[in-house]
C-alpha cells in the first residue's frame, strides 16, 4: 500500500457539531521528519483537525492513516502520538518527574529505565534540577519545556502541538520557537503544529497548511505561500499585501495583462487558470513595491504620499492612487527618500514576477 510512505495522511475528514460544520473534507499528508503547521484564524477548523488526528474527537466521515495504518476511530492511547496542549496540561498533583514518567509507566517500563529516560529528557530541556517540584512551582516557559519533555520521552511517531506558545510573552515565545525547531531537527521527529500566528508558522515550518472556513485552503512551503499564494485568502492572511481588483485584458505566454485600479495597466506573473475578460485580483507584497521614479520596473503607478510610518527596521509609505485606492510600500529604514514629503506626488514601481494574479473563485469553494 502506498500509504505507508506517509507518516500521516487524512482523507476527506469531516466533522460537524449539530448544524455547524467544523471541518469539511480535510485532506493532508505528512512525511517522516516533516514539520507541518496548520495555520488559520480561530474557527477555521485547525484544532478540530488536530483533535481528530489525536483521537480526541470522532470524525463524521473520512479516514485517518498513521504510519500506514488506518486509525480513524482508534482510541488516543493506541495511536502512539504525542500531544502538547495550549495550557500545557501538566498533571498538577504530580511532580515533574512523575509527569514525565507517566507515559513510560503506562507503557510498563521498568523503574530503572524510567528514571534513566526521564533524566535524559530533563537534561535535553535543561531542567534536570526541577524534577521533584510541582508544575505550579514552575514558570510558564519552564512548564512548556516540561510538556515538551513529557512528549519526547516516549518517542512517539508524531508530535501534535496545539498553539503551545500561545500563552507566553513575545521574548519567551521567540526563544522557545527556536528551541522547538532545534529539537525537531536534532531528534528528527515529525511535528504537526497548530497556530494562528503566521510569523510563527513561517519561522518554524517545512510546510504550512492554511485553513479557512473549515477547509484546507492551500498547502505549501513558507516560500511558496508567501510569494506564490494560490488563493485570495492565503494572500491576504499571510503577511501584508496590496490586493486589488482587476480585469484580465490579455493572457500572454509569460505574463498576464490586466486593467487595475485607476485604470492603470498592470502586468502580472503567469497563472494557468485565468482567461481573458475574467474578473481577478492581483497582489503585490509591500516590500516588492519600490519608491522612486518607477523606471525600469514592469509596472508603475503615480500617487500622493499620504503617510510615512517608521516601525523600526522598516518604514512604511502609504500612497493614495488617483482613484483613492491605497497602496503600501515598505522599505528598509534609512531616513528620507529623495526629498518626497507627505502630501507630495510619488512614483511606485514593481516587477511583474512579484505580481501574483488570483482568480476570484479559487479557494474556499474548490
Amino acid at each position: 500500500m502506498n500509504d505507508s510512505i506517509h507518516k500521516l495522511k487524512t482523507l476527506d475528514v469531516r466533522k460537524t457539531y449539530g448544524s455547524v460544520v467544523a471541518l469539511d473534507a480535510a485532506s493532508i499528508e505528512m512525511h517522516e521528519g516533516e514539520f507541518l503547521t496548520l495555520l488559520g484564524p480561530s474557527g477555521s477548523g485547525k484544532t478540530t483537525l488536530l483533535m481528530a488526528i489525536a483521537g480526541l474527537n470522532d470524525p463524521d466521515s473520512g479516514e485517518i492513516w498513521i504510519d500506514g495504518k488506518l486509525a480513524t476511530y482508534l482510541p488516543p492511547f493506541k495511536r502512539d502520538l504525542g500531544m502538547v496542549f495550549q495550557n500545557y496540561a501538566l498533571f498538577p498533583h504530580m511532580t515533574i518527574f512523575d509527569n514525565i514518567a507517566f507515559p513510560l509507566r503506562m507503557r510498563k517500563m521498568d523503574r530503572a529505565a524510567i528514571r534513566k529516560e526521564v533524566m535524559r529528557v530533563l537534561e535535553i530541556v535543561q531542567l534536570a534540577h526541577v524534577a521533584e517540584r510541582f508544575p505550579s512551582e514552575l514558570s510558564g516557559g519552564q512548564q512548556q519545556r516540561i510538556a515538551l519533555a513529557r512528549c519526547f520521552v516516549y518517542q512517539p511517531s508524531i508530535i501534535l502541538m496545539d498553539e503551545p506558545l500561545g500563552a507566553l510573552d513575545k521574548k519567551l515565545r521567540d526563544a522557545l520557537q527556536r528551541e522547538i525547531k532545534h529539537l525537531h531537527e536534532n531528534l528528527g521527529i515529525t511535528v504537526l503544529y497548530v497556530t494562528h500566528d503566521q510569523e510563527e508558522a513561517m519561522v518554524m515550518s517545512d510546510r504550512i497548511c492554511v485553513m479557512n472556513d473549515a477547509r484546507v485552503d492551500q498547502i505549501g512551503t513558507p516560500d511558496e505561500l508567501y510569494f506564490r499564494p494560490s488563493t485570495i485568502f492565503a494572500a491576504d492572511f499571510l503577511g501584508e499585501s496590496n490586493l486589488f481588483d482587476a480585469e484580465v485584458l490579455e493572457v500572454r505566454s509569460d505574463s498576464i495583462l490586466m486593467r487595475g485600479p485607476a485604470g492603470m495597466t498592470v502586468q502580472g506573473a503567469s497563472n494557468g487558470s485565468v482567461r481573458t475578460g475574467e474578473r481577478v485580483k492581483f497582489m503585490i507584497r509591500p516590500e516588492s513595491v519600490d519608491t522612486g521614479n518607477g523606471e525600469g520596473s514592469d509596472n508603475s503607478a503615480e500617487g500622493t504620499l499620504k503617510e510615512v510610518m517608521i516601525t523600526g527596521q522598516v518604514t512604511r509609505y502609504y500612497v493614495e492612487l488617483a482613484d483613492g485606492t491605497e497602496m503600501v510600500s515598505t522599505q528598509l529604514t534609512r531616513g528620507g527618500i529623495g526629498g518626497i514629503e507627505t502630501g507630495g506626488p510619488i512614483n511606485l514601481g514593481w516587477s511583474k514576477a512579484r505580481t501574483v494574479v488570483l482568480a476570484e473563485n479559487v479557494g474556499g469553494a474548490s
Binding site: 488516543p76 492511547f77 496542549f85 517540584r133
Partner: protein
C-alpha cells in the same frame, strides 16, 4: 516650621493624612457581636454547666457518669458508625452524579441539579414519612418485590440500620454532590485528553489523574456529610430501631425528660470533641482550606498527610491497573475497529447509574403527591380514589394556617437579618487582608459545623434567662445564627469572581464609595444576593431542631407542627401539607431563577 498654604488646604481636604478605616470595623462588628452573643456565649454557657455539680461547684461528676456507664460511649460509637456509613454511601452514590454533572453542558446541568436538589425542597419530615410508607412491611417496595417474585416474604427495610441508612443518605447526598461538583467543575478536561494521548486507557487516566484531583471535593463533601449526620435525630428516631439511637437523641432525653442540663452539656461536649478531632484529622490530611475549594499543591504535609499520600498513590495505581486490565479484556471480547466508531459504553453506564441515583433522590417527593389525594384515612400505597378532603382539612385548620404564617414570617425575617449581618462581613473578609482572617472566617461559619442540637439546647438555656422562650423574636434570632454562615459563604463565593476594577472604574469616573456600592457593586451581585437570601430562607423554613426547643411548645412553625402531628398520627394531611410545600418551594425557586436569569442578561 510653617506649613505652606497648599499643605494646609491638602490637609483640610484629607489628602495628606492617611484616613482611618472605620468602615471595616463597622462592617464586621455586627456579625461578631451577634454570633458572640447568640452562638458562642450560650454554647460556652452550656458546656460550662457540664463542669459544675448541682451546687455550682467545679466538679467532674458528669464526666465520671458519662464514662461510668458503657451505654453513652456505645451510643457515641453507634453515632460514629452511622455517620461513617452515611458518608461512605453518600460519596459512592453521589460521585457518579457529580462526575456526570461536571461533564455535561450548562443547560443540561442546571436541569439535572434541580432534580438532585429535590430532597432539599421536600420537608425532611415528609421525606421520612414517605420512606416509612414506601419501605414498610406492606409498603410499596415490598409489594413490588413480592409481586415480581423476588422475595417470598416481606423484607425488613425500616426500623433497623437499613432504614436509617436509606433516610440519611437520601437527606445528605445532595450536599455531598454539590460540594464534589464545585471541585470537579474546576478540573481541566484537557488533563484527561493529555493522559490518553500519553497512552493511558480510560481507567488509568480516571484513577491516576481525575480521581486524585477530585479528592479535595470528595473529602470536603464527605466531611460535611459526616459532621451533619452526627447531629441527626429525626431520621434515626423514625426509621431506626432501638439499637440505632444516636447521641443527639440522648441529649434531647436528658433535657426534656430528666432536665439534667449539666449532663446534657457533658454529652454535647463529647460530641463536640469528636467533631473537632475529625476536623483536625482532616486538616492533617488535606488542609481545611480545601473546604472552600482551594487547591493545596505544594503544601508541606505532616507525617499523617505523607502516609495518606503514599497509601493513596498505591491505591490509585492498583485501581488504575485493574481497570486497565478490564479494558483490555473488553477489547478482546469486542475488538476495536479502526474504521468504525465504538459505542461509548462507559458514558452509557455513567448515565444509567447517575439517573438511577437521581431517581432514588426524587422518589419520596414524587410519592407524596399522589398519596395526598387519597380517600383513605391513612398513608398507604397505592392511594385509593381521588379526594381533596385532606387539602380541605389542612387549609381550613387554624393551626396549620398560623404555623404557615409564622414560618413564612420567621424565615423572611431571619433571612433578611442574616443578610444584613452576613453581607458586610463577607465583603470585609474578601476585600481586606489582615492577620487572623482564616480564624475569623472559621468563627463566622462555625454554626454550620456545630451540631444544631447544641445550638438549640444552648439557646433554650439562654432564652430561659432572658424570657425569650416561646417568642417569635427568639425564633428569628436563633435561625439567624444558622443563616449567617450560609450568607457569608455564598456572598464570598460570588465576590471572589467580582471584578474589583469595575469599582475602581466607577471611582475614577467620579462616584463616591456609597454610590459605587449602590449603583455598581450591588446590582452586579444581585443574582448571588438573591441566591443567598433563598438559601437562608429555606434553612429557616425547614428548620426543626431550634424550633423544637426555643418555642417551648407555645408557638409553632410548619416543621414543628408537622413533627407534632406526625408523632400523634401519620395522616394523609401531612402529605397534603408536603405537596403544598413542594409547590410553594418550586414556585419560589423558579421565581428566583427567573429573576437571576433576567439579571444575568442585563
Amino acid at each position: 516650621m510653617s506649613a505652606t498654604p497648599q499643605q494646609v488646604s491638602a490637609a483640610l481636604s484629607g489628602a495628606i493624612k492617611r484616613p482611618r478605616r472605620w468602615g471595616g470595623l463597622l462592617s464586621i462588628s455586627p456579625a461578631l457581636l451577634f454570633l458572640g452573643f447568640f452562638f458562642l456565649y450560650p454554647v460556652v454557657l452550656l458546656l460550662g454547666l457540664s463542669l459544675v455539680d448541682n451546687s455550682g461547684a467545679l466538679s467532674a461528676q458528669h464526666y465520671v457518669h458519662l464514662f461510668e456507664k458503657a451505654v453513652y460511649v456505645k451510643v457515641l460509637l453507634i453515632t460514629l458508625k452511622i455517620a461513617g456509613w452515611t458518608t461512605v454511601f453518600a460519596i459512592l452514590a453521589g460521585y457518579p452524579i457529580a462526575y456526570l454533572l461536571s461533564t455535561v453542558k450548562g443547560s443540561t446541568r442546571n436541569s439535572l441539579v434541580i432534580w438532585v436538589l429535590m430532597p432539599f425542597w421536600t420537608s425532611f419530615l415528609v421525606r421520612t414519612f414517605a420512606w416509612i410508607v414506601l419501605l414498610g412491611r406492606h409498603g410499596a417496595l415490598n409489594e413490588l418485590l413480592l409481586a415480581l417474585g423476588f422475595v417470598d416474604a416481606p423484607v425488613r427495610l425500616i426500623f433497623n440500620f437499613t432504614g436509617v441508612m436509606i433516610g440519611m443518605v437520601h437527606a445528605l447526598m445532595p450536599l455531598c454532590v454539590l460540594t464534589m461538583l464545585s471541585v470537579m467543575e474546576n478540573i481541566d478536561r484537557n488533563l484527561m485528553s493529555a493522559a490518553s494521548t500519553l497512552g493511558a486507557r480510560g481507567g488509568q487516566s480516571f484513577w491516576r489523574v481525575y480521581f486524585p484531583l477530585s479528592i479535595p471535593g470528595v473529602a470536603a463533601g464527605g466531611m460535611l456529610v459526616f459532621i451533619t449526620s452526627l447531629g441527626f435525630f429525626i431520621t434515626p428516631a423514625l426509621l431506626g430501631g432501638a439499637r440505632d439511637t444516636m447521641i443527639v437523641q440522648v441529649i434531647i432525653f436528658q433535657i426534656q425528660e430528666v432536665l439534667n442540663w449539666g449532663f446534657a452539656g457533658a454529652i454535647a461536649m463529647l460530641l463536640l470533641v469528636a467533631v473537632l478531632l475529625i476536623f483536625s484529622l482532616y486538616d492533617q490530611l488535606l488542609g481545611l482550606s480545601t473546604l472552600s475549594g482551594e487547591t493545596t499543591q505544594g503544601r508541606k504535609k505532616g507525617p499523617i498527610g505523607r502516609a495518606g499520600q503514599w497509601l493513596g498513590g498505591h491505591l490509585v495505581a492498583t485501581l488504575g491497573l485493574v481497570c486497565e486490565q478490564a479494558g483490555i479484556l473488553m477489547d478482546k471480547l469486542v475488538p476495536r475497529n479502526a474504521a468504525r466508531p465504538r459505542r461509548a459504553w462507559g458514558r452509557i453506564t455513567l448515565w444509567v447509574s447517575a439517573l438511577s441515583v437521581i431517581g432514588f433522590l426524587c422518589i419520596p417527593a414524587l410519592f407524596v403527591i399522589p398519596v395526598s389525594f387519597t380517600e383513605e384515612g391513612f398513608l398507604g400505597w397505592p392511594p385509593k380514589g381521588f379526594s381533596l378532603q385532606w387539602y380541605e382539612e389542612v387549609l381550613n385548620s387554624p393551626a396549620w394556617a398560623i404555623a404557615a404564617t409564622r414560618s413564612f414570617g420567621v424565615a423572611t425575617a431571619s433571612a433578611l437579618l442574616g443578610m444584613l449581618i452576613g453581607v458586610p462581613a463577607a465583603f470585609f473578609l474578601v476585600r481586606r487582608q489582615f492577620v487572623g482572617k482564616a480564624a475569623l472566617f472559621a468563627f463566622l461559619v462555625s454554626p454550620i459545623i456545630m451540631p444544631n442540637i447544641i445550638i438549640a439546647v444552648a439557646l433554650f438555656y439562654l432564652y430561659a434567662k432572658m424570657s425569650l422562650v416561646g417568642t417569635n423574636i427568639g425564633l428569628i434570632l436563633g435561625h439567624t445564627v444558622l443563616a449567617i454562615p450560609y450568607v457569608v459563604i455564598t456572598v464570598m463565593a460570588i465576590l471572589k469572581n467580582y471584578d474589583h476594577r469595575l469599582d475602581q472604574a466607577a471611582w475614577t469616573l467620579g462616584a463616591n464609595k456609597w454610590h459605587t456600592l449602590i449603583r455598581i457593586t450591588l446590582p452586579l451581585l444581585s443574582g448571588g444576593l438573591i441566591a443567598s437570601f433563598m438559601f437562608a430562607f429555606i434553612i429557616s423554613f425547614d428548620e426543626l431542631t431550634i424550633a423544637l426547643f426555643v418555642t417551648g411548645g407555645e408557638v409553632t412553625t410548619l416543621p414543628k407542627q408537622m413533627w407534632d402531628d406526625a408523632l400523634m398520627r401519620v395522616s394523609p394531611a401531612l402529605a397534603a401539607v408536603a405537596t403544598l410545600l413542594l409547590a410553594f418551594m418550586s414556585c419560589f425557586i423558579l421565581a428566583s431563577e427567573f429573576i437571576r436569569r433576567r439579571g444575568a442578561r442585563k
